[in-house]
Amino acid sequence: MDKKNKRRKHSQLKEFWRRFRKNRTAILGLVILAVIVCIAVFADLIVPYARCIEQVGADRLQPPNPSHWFGTDELGRDLFSRVVHGARYSLFVGVVTSLIALAIGAVLGASAAYFGGMVDNVIMRIIDVFMCVPPILLSLAVVSALGTSLRNLIIAITISCIPGNTRLIRSVVLTVAEQDYVEAARSYGTTNRRIIFRYVLPNAMGPIIVNTTMMISDMILSAAGLSFIGMGIQPPAPEWGALLSNAQTYIFTAPYLLFFPGIFIILTSLSFNLVGDGLTDALDPKLKD
């Protein structure tokens, strides 16, 4: 039984990969993502962290040149090093917030959908309350209350995207829970927990994975937005949004300060979006041709 299961999974994966591979833009997204992940992981090997906080006042606002590939910022710091090390923060914030939001959303959404009735009502009414406040304002208020730091930034962004997640997972689970095999499992007297984790969630995985991938992209943008208005992380840490927030006044004299971090935000966010788009097509069984 177990072996059979494994083999089936294996061939499912193969089939999925075959379809994903056909989508050239998705592969492009995957490649960009791989490069950025490498940059983040090997940042210290590419350029030491010390370089990105080192200030040389005399070298400030230099346009890109052989010793400073992306130029230098207003304090005379090497922008290339800052962008490279910034990859860590942006990726970290994007992935961590999405995963936390996913976990919380999954527990809330799945219980709401599965138990229905009172549980569903209570959870969804609370979610409604959160949905009524625009996410960015919610984040702003939370950061104001907690103070500025990497941890608080993560909390603020996560809170703002839990409601949407919960709703999505609830609706996905609702669809799955109505399927025959769940009915069957229930009639055998399988425990609720087991049904949810064994049958419902795995089968609801497709849309959830796609949504999470796309969510990472949104979270990277939200984090950049909050940092841009000065509510991100503590200096001198080089988060991409924070790099941009000081750059806007140099838009004419040093446009590269706005350009390079901006391009990296866009590329990272885009790579998740492209992969997510590819996943949607590859995971959709109806799209078999």
């Binding site: 050239r24 833009t25 569903d120 969804m124 009414r125 609370i126 409604d128 309350v129 959160f130 949905m131 009524c132 406040v133 625009p134 996410p135 960015i136 304002l137 702003l140 208020a141 939370v142 104001s144 209350a145 907690l146 103070g147 949407g164 709703r167 609830r170 609706s171 992209s217 943008l221 950049a224 937005g225 841009f228 208005i229 949004g241 941009l244 806007q248 838009i251 004419f252 706005l258 901006g262 935000i265 866009i266 590329l267 966010s269 885009l270 979006n273 492209l274 788009d277 949607t280 109806k286 799209l287």
Partner: protein
């Protein structure tokens, strides 16, 4: 709806109470005498305990329809809201319109020409725009259209001209979602039995698409507009900040920073009500487009979620 609004008030009131500082010292600054600060706080009723403040606030709304007086301007909150809301509404509405126009039309074309070069290009372009931070796009638009070309204003909300760049900022970054939704929904519909039937009956492609597929495909698109409007409001907040436009977003971001509790509360509740109204309108529209819904509502008595 009432419990939701109560919940929203409580949520926002609690978060704001957790923010450090008191209105008196925020308004008067650090050279102010402590007794002046205390006097101002007492005037605002800020010296009273949390629950007293909360219930007084709710009481004033319920019994006097009074959203309170701003700490910062010392004028009725409703005045500040009414001075700004039309701008935000117009911006959000224009952004929604442009977004629908772009998203839905590109989505249809994409679906009809599935896997063509055009399809891929449109999807990728839309995704690229979805990946651009709103504030970054706004700054770029200002650079090109206001400073280089001197065509459009940098700030303000006096005429429709002032709304063009903010509208583009909001709609371009959010059209991708609608495109993908329309495309997916169209593709799904096309595979439905009745479309096959129509095709089998020999109806032309054009007729199938416009008459049968589109109408059905738009249903999920319209459903998504309720939340889409909320997203537009969120985007409008960023755009208002970048373009120094008097709107709900700038009002609330300022008020949060000044700990102007009545203004934040008033504005949030106001938006929450508006949001609910939009969702209601979308529901009605939905039933109007899809007669099956009516039947469903009648059967279930009450719709879920």
């Amino acid at each position: 709806m009432i419990p939701v609004l109560l919940g929203v008030s409580f949520l926002v009131f609690t978060i704001l109470s957790l923010t450090p500082g008191d209105p008196g010292s925020i308004i008067l600054g650090i050279t102010a005498k402590p007794e002046d600060i205390a006097r101002l706080n007492a005037e605002f009723g800020y010296d009273r305990p949390f629950f007293v403040r909360f219930f007084t606030y709710i009481g004033n709304i319920v019994f006097h329809l009074d959203l309170g007086t701003s700490y910062a301007t010392r004028q009725p909150v409703i005045n500040s809201i009414m001075a700004r809301f039309p701008n935000t509404l117009l911006l959000a509405a224009m952004a929604m319109a442009v977004e629908c126009l772009l998203g839905v039309s590109m989505g249809i074309i994409s679906a009809v020409r599935q896997y063509s070069v055009l399809d891929r290009v449109m999807v990728v372009v839309a995704l690229v725009f979805a990946s651009i931070p709103g504030f970054w796009l706004g700054l770029m638009l200002i650079t090109v259209f206001s400073i280089r070309l001197k065509l459009l204003p940098v700030f303000g909300a006096d005429t429709l001209r002032h709304f063009i760049l903010p509208t583009l900022t909001v709609s371009l970054t959010s059209a991708a979602g609608l495109l993908r939704l329309t495309r997916a929904s169209m593709l799904e519909t096309v595979r439905q039995e009745y479309i096959r039937t129509a095709q089998a009956k020999g109806a032309g492609e054009r007729v199938v698409i416009w008459k049968h597929a589109l109408r059905n495909a738009l249903i999920p698109v319209i459903t998504s507009m309720g939340t889409g409007f909320g997203a537009s409001l969120g985007g409008a907040i960023i755009a208002e900040t970048v373009f120094s436009m008097p709107g709900m977003g700038t009002l609330m971001t300022n008020a949060i920073r000044q700990k102007d509790v009545p203004t934040v509360m008033g504005a949030t509740l106001f938006l929450a009500v508006m949001f609910s109204v939009v969702v209601l309108i979308v529901d009605i529209l939905y039933a109007f487009i899809d007669p099956r819904i009516k039947a469903k509502y009648r059967n279930e008595g009450r719709g879920r979620g």
